[in-house]
């Protein structure tokens, strides 16, 4: 704390209370526990059509080809270099909720923020299915999405560098 902060007033009185409406408009984030997921639902089948129309041009017909980020895992790779590059939703992302959150806020790249919640649920279902994580017929919604288990979740460890000057 600054030396003078002891003499500071309890509040300065600048700014104004945030209206619930204003918060609601911005507060679209989704946590791993599902907090923030909107109502609505989707399936991989519906997502497939939307993907073909709005995503395939950048991420490839099957989510593997690009030119932009690979979204779907390639099974059974043997070459270690290609394997290392193959870090995608299916084998790298720790939480399925992040797929919804990110698509909703940032995709499609050329029209960010243009998708409805229904569309995002379906695209999420499509990508989870394409990555072998759910069945084609699974319904993805606020209840089911947080429960999708991501294979790589336990690989993530917290930062262990700072309690030592050693190189880590």
């Amino acid at each position: 704390a600054r030396p003078d902060s002891l003499n500071w007033p309890k509040t300065f009185g600048f700014g104004k209370p945030a209206a619930a409406q204003q918060i609601a408009r911005l507060d679209t984030d989704v946590r791993p526990d599902g907090k923030g997921l909107p109502s609505g639902s989707g399936t991989a089948r519906r997502g497939k059509t939307i993907y073909a129309a709005k995503c395939a041009s950048c991420h490839g017909a099957t989510g593997v080809e690009g030119p932009n980020d690979q979204l779907v895992i390639v099974q059974g790779l043997t070459d270690p270099a290609t394997k290392a590059k193959n870090k995608v939703i299916g084998n790298y992302w720790p939480y399925a909720t992040t797929v919804f959150d990110y698509i909703k806020r940032a995709m499609p790249f050329n029209q960010p923020g243009s998708l409805t919640n229904q569309e995002v649920y379906s695209l999420t279902a499509f990508l989870l299915h394409a990555n072998g994580l759910i069945k084609e017929t699974d319904i993805i919604n606020a209840q089911t999405l947080p429960k999708v288990l991501m294979p790589n979740r336990d690989s993530f460890v917290p930062d262990d560098r700072l309690n030592t000057p050693a190189v880590r």
């Binding site: 600054r2 945030a18 911005l26 984030d29 990110y102 940032a106 960010p112």
Partner: protein, 387 residues
């Protein structure tokens, strides 16, 4: 004519090319240009960031001292620089707070303010190239330094009454990536700043105008720009940036997450590719920095790492800041390798690339801060060499 593009998508003529200039034979015999409103560089001074599709790098080898001119501060954004009208700007703070509030830019400027000089570095700041023809700008030009001014986040935490049980908060940008990162609430209490000024003037559009989060010593991506919302929480959000990106494999199938702090680093910026030097006295120059605190010392080797000598540090040595170092050396013209290593006040010593990869199970990735070597050929050409 050099055309430059503004962050708001307009092009303008950035300066005058050499061929357009008519230099008077003797400048003392013609009156000069009268006093003006905004200065410009000499047309002989060609300074430019190096843009890619997603970032643009500071020309470290062309700079002096420690301050980065604001228009050369590195850029990294995830769907371009937004055009934000400051009159429309608002910052919302909500979640685990007693009083959810919204602040205009003018509101933020009324609070007690603070200034500090510190670096900002992208944690994906290492490139190499086999032929050695690569300059500091390419190797690690995603670091820059400014004098930032703003309101301490702790001041706003007090104002909204942050719940003592809050451990994380979400910082969200108003760009078209709607960038989000989870930040430790403790960092907000400690030294985070909501910066509205940079090197004396308003934060530049490329750096987050009108307001960015500044987390001294922490990886650039977490310093969310165009900040529009902070949500106090008791857990991280695991956004795409902190899961798919900005995490690094460290061996044994483990991936390090929330690796915020930038480790100590240094680079010799002179002599460095593309420079060519002559034998004789050379002042070896560079910058060193650490996200863990102050630089304690910088050591230089002129014999490929066999022996190390202390470099001189330019005062003042500031916390979490680029510091300029120098080492005076007489080159005998024989091919050799020169390199620098930074040691910070925690005792952390900058490793070689091999040491770093060994510590991380052979993986490359984010947070690569290896010693950078420069190979001096007998003809004086300086070439990059990975360590």
């Amino acid at each position: 004519v050099v055309l430059a593009q503004t962050a708001n998508g307009k092009t303008f003529q950035a300066g005058v090319t050499r061929s357009e200039l008519v230099y008077p034979e003797d400048p003392t015999k013609v009156p000069g240009v009268p006093p003006g409103t905004v200065g410009t560089r000499s047309p002989h001074v060609k300074l430019a960031k190096l843009p890619s599709e997603t970032s643009s790098r500071t020309p470290l080898q062309d700079l002096f001292g420690t301050i980065t001119p604001s228009d050369l501060h590195f850029e990294r954004h995830h769907n371009g620089v937004p055009a934000i009208d400051p009159a429309q700007y608002e910052l919302v703070i909500h979640g685990m707070v007693a009083r959810p509030m919204t602040f205009t830019l003018a509101d933020l400027k009324r609070f007690p303010s603070v200034s500090r000089i510190c670096f900002l570095e992208c944690s994906g700041n290492y490139r190499s190239q086999d032929d050695g023809k690569i300059a500091p700008q390419q190797i690690c030009g995603l670091t820059s330094q400014s004098e930032w001014t703003g309101v301490k986040l702790s001041t706003l935490f007090r104002e909204v009454g942050v719940d003592p049980k809050s451990t994380w908060f979400l910082a969200e940008g108003g760009d078209s990536a709607v960038m989000t990162r989870s930040i430790l609430t403790s960092k907000g209490w400690e030294d985070a700043i909501l910066a509205y000024a940079q090197n004396g003037e308003a934060v530049r559009p490329e750096q987050g105008y009108p307001v960015r989060l500044l987390l001294p010593g922490w990886e650039g991506n977490a310093n969310v720009k165009w900040l529009r919302r902070l949500e106090l929480s008791d857990q991280p959000y695991h956004t795409r940036q902190e899961t798919s990106k900005y995490t690094e494999a460290i061996g044994d199938g483990k991936v390090r997450q929330f690796s915020f702090v930038m480790d100590a680093r240094s680079i010799i910026t002179y002599p460095a590719y593309p420079a060519k030097v002559e034998k004789g006295w050379i002042e070896i120059r560079g910058i060193a920095w650490s996200g863990r605190g102050k630089i304690a010392r910088v050591e230089v080797s002129v014999d490929a790492g066999k022996t190390w000598q202390p470099a001189e540090l330019q005062e003042p040595v500031l916390d979490k800041a680029h510091v300029a170092f120098r080492y005076l050396w007489q080159w005998n013209g024989q091919p050799t390798e020169i390199m620098s290593r930074a040691i910070d006040e925690t005792g952390y010593s900058q490793p070689t690339l091999k040491e770093l990869m060994a510590a991380r199970g052979g993986n490359m990735g984010y947070h690569l801060n290896p010693i950078t070597a420069w190979y001096l050929q007998s003809d004086g050409q300086v070439l990059f060499k990975a360590t």
